[in-house]
């Protein structure tokens, strides 16, 4: 028998009290694990959604002329009459250091032309990339192919176009393959065509006016990627769409702060449960501690018995709390997730943090009761028997 055995035997004998301390700590740890796990899962989901949200880097030709905006985003300037970007150079984007983070590269050529006798802005896009970059685009009809055009909602209204109708653009008869549903952006006013067709109409073969890049993913080094793109395309200027990046970061940080705050609060309550219960336990065991002291236990050894009990319970609470928190997180995830699915990943670092939290809270909350126990006057303690 040693001091650890005494602690274990006491816990075994006083199961109800041990269970109470365990429950207090376990609740704190489980809450922390559930919230952190949910935080990670939701962060992943938010990232995933933001990846779908669209471009977060815009590449425009270098220009010292007027500033324009696109889609309500305040970006670097470009001018339609300024230099264009060579389409062949865009391959360089796929070769940058962080090319693995590049989800889509969407070139767009823009130019003024006439449709049905009215001036319009014609946009040529790569529809394969546009599906990733602009997932909110919904076409009533089909994507335009060669000889076809897809007007934005406002352009269709002003030009009187519907799916299947024909329209004369720059002197060519084109068919309306579909109409873009209203987006609330500048896209509503454009006429969209396949990139190559638009380049031909506008006389800009092999040239693009701007490039949208989707590079949103967890911990993407956006600023570094911007710099890498700048180096890859010397004639162009890449700009991060800060509102998207910052919005994403703020949403994630906000949830994490909330999760951390609630976790700390519940952990504190758990520690208070340990403190109160251990204080009660020490008071209840005054006589027993008197015996320990009378038969030659040093005050530090009495302290060790109490702390060992707390540490055993804390370790159990940490491990069980991780399991319980993981389970609670799994059950709660559908309530928080917009997708209503997903799952929490087993995270060894979170398990380690849960164990550490339980041990720190349990031992910190037991320090004072243990100190009280070690300071008991043995003669006085024995009188309580």
């Amino acid at each position: 028998m040693n001091l650890t055995d005494i602690a274990l035997l006491n816990l075994r004998r006083k199961k109800a009290k041990a269970a109470f301390v365990l429950a207090g700590l376990l609740t704190g740890v489980a809450t922390m694990v559930a919230l952190m796990g949910l935080g990670s899962a939701l962060t992943h989901e938010i990232n995933h959604k933001l990846e779908k949200y669209g471009a977060n880097i815009l590449i425009t030709p270098k220009s010292d002329q007027l500033n324009l905006s696109y889609g309500g985003l305040s970006l670097g300037g470009f001018s339609f009459d300024a230099r264009e970007i060579r389409q062949a150079d865009l391959a360089g984007i796929r070769k940058i250091k962080n090319s693995a983070n590049v989800a889509a590269v969407g070139p767009m050529v823009l130019g003024r032309t006439e449709a049905a006798g009215r001036p319009v802005l014609l946009a040529g896009v790569d529809w394969n990339e546009a599906r990733i970059l602009k997932p909110w685009w919904k076409l009533q009809g089909k994507e335009p192919g060669p000889g076809q055009v897809a007007p934005g909602a406002e352009a269709a209204r002003l030009l009187g176009l519907t799916t299947g109708s024909r329209v004369k653009v720059a002197g060519r008869e084109l068919t309306v393959s579909g109409v873009l549903e209203p987006t609330g952006s500048q896209d509503d006013h454009l006429l969209f065509m396949p990139l190559a067709s638009a380049q031909e109409i506008l006389g800009k073969q092999g040239l693009v006016s701007l490039v949208e890049v989707a590079a949103l993913c967890k911990d993407c080094p956006i600023e570094a990627m911007v710099s890498q793109i700048d180096q890859a395309l010397p004639g162009a200027k890449a700009v991060a769409i800060q509102s998207v990046v910052k919005g994403r970061m703020e949403a994630i940080a906000h949830f994490k702060r909330f999760a951390l705050g609630v976790s700390l609060l519940v952990a504190l309550l758990g520690a208070l449960v340990v403190l109160v219960t251990m204080m009660g336990s020490v008071k209840e065991r005054t006589g027993e501690i008197g015996i320990f002291r009378a038969i030659g236990f040093r005050s530090g050894q009495v302290m060790r018995v109490v702390l060992t009990e707390a540490l055993i319970l804390s370790a159990a609470a940490g491990l069980l709390g991780y399991g319980a928190g993981h389970l609670a997180g799994e059950l709660a995830l559908p309530l928080f997730s917009q997708d209503g699915g997903g799952h929490l990943a087993w995270d060894p670092s979170l398990a380690g943090a849960a164990l550490a939290l339980a041990l720190v809270c349990g031992s910190a909350a037991s320090l004072y009761p243990a100190w009280m126990a070690s300071r008991l006057d043995p003669a006085q303690a024995l009188r309580t028997l």
């Binding site: 028998m1 001091l3 009378a294 038969i295 030659g296 236990f297 040093r298 005050s299």
Partner: protein, 234 residues
């Protein structure tokens, strides 16, 4: 040779008009292997004397030597070590830890010693056998009689093989048969060379001792031999 030498021990409780002198210049010497009983009515200071001799209580004045060690010059941890090495305690209310078996209770003083578990268990079994409790090692205190609990408490006091046994009313909660058995056990331990100091208010119990010290109002009032007391008590 004196194992215990106490000089002018003074211990008071309370203050002002409620001041009680529990020990009032108490001096005594007890030889190694001597069985000494301290007798007196309730409140005479005999339990306080035992607590002081057990280094559980510190007097305001006086000196106390055990085997040449000045006990009250020791720090708290050293005093705990002293209690472990020199003293065995037997209390009136048995003072066994309720959630430990008899063997585990007896092993308590060994818990802080670096000995193999098997050796500790063997020592506990020997101590229990010495007080006639073989076969009851795994029982909890609540599963044995009061007499057996008290004998287990004696076994716990013996397991470390200390030279001194301090017993505070060890038969206070026992019936006549168990009282007699306990006193014979203490007498036997005394005859085996253990120094025993027993506090009792029972002349019959004190008669087992080699020497009986009478206490009243915190002072030692005289002494007699156990034999003489036995003759008086019949």
């Amino acid at each position: 040779m004196s194992m215990i030498i106490a000089r002018d021990l003074v211990k008071t409780y309370g203050k002002g008009s409620s001041l009680v002198r529990a020990l009032d210049s108490v001096s005594l010497e007890i030889d190694a292997g001597q069985f000494t009983a301290v007798m007196g009515p309730s409140g005479s200071g005999k339990s306080t004397l035992l607590a002081v001799l057990g280094a559980l209580n510190t007097p305001e004045g006086g000196s106390y030597l055990v085997d040449g060690i000045e006990v009250f010059s020791l720090g708290q941890d050293q005093r705990a070590d002293f209690r472990r090495e020199y003293l065995g305690f037997v209390f009136q209310s048995f003072n066994l830890v309720p959630y430990l078996s008899l063997a585990e209770n007896v092993m308590l003083p060994l818990a802080i010693k670096r000995l193999p578990k098997k050796e500790k268990l063997d020592m506990a079994h020997v101590a229990l056998a010495r007080v006639g409790l073989e076969g009851k090692e795994k029982r909890l205190p609540s599963e044995v009689s009061g007499g057996e609990q008290e004998r287990a408490a004696v076994a716990r006091a013996l397991v470390n093989q200390p030279p001194i046994l301090l017993a505070d009313e060890p038969t206070g909660n026992l019936d006549q048969a168990n009282t007699q058995r306990m006193m014979e056990l203490l007498k036997r331990l005394g005859s085996e060379g253990m120094t025993i100091v027993m506090v009792t208010h029972s002349p019959a119990c004190a008669s087992y001792a080699d020497r009986v010290l009478n206490m009243a109002d915190g002072r030692l009032q005289g002494e007699e031999t156990g034999k003489a007391l036995a003759a008086v008590c019949g």
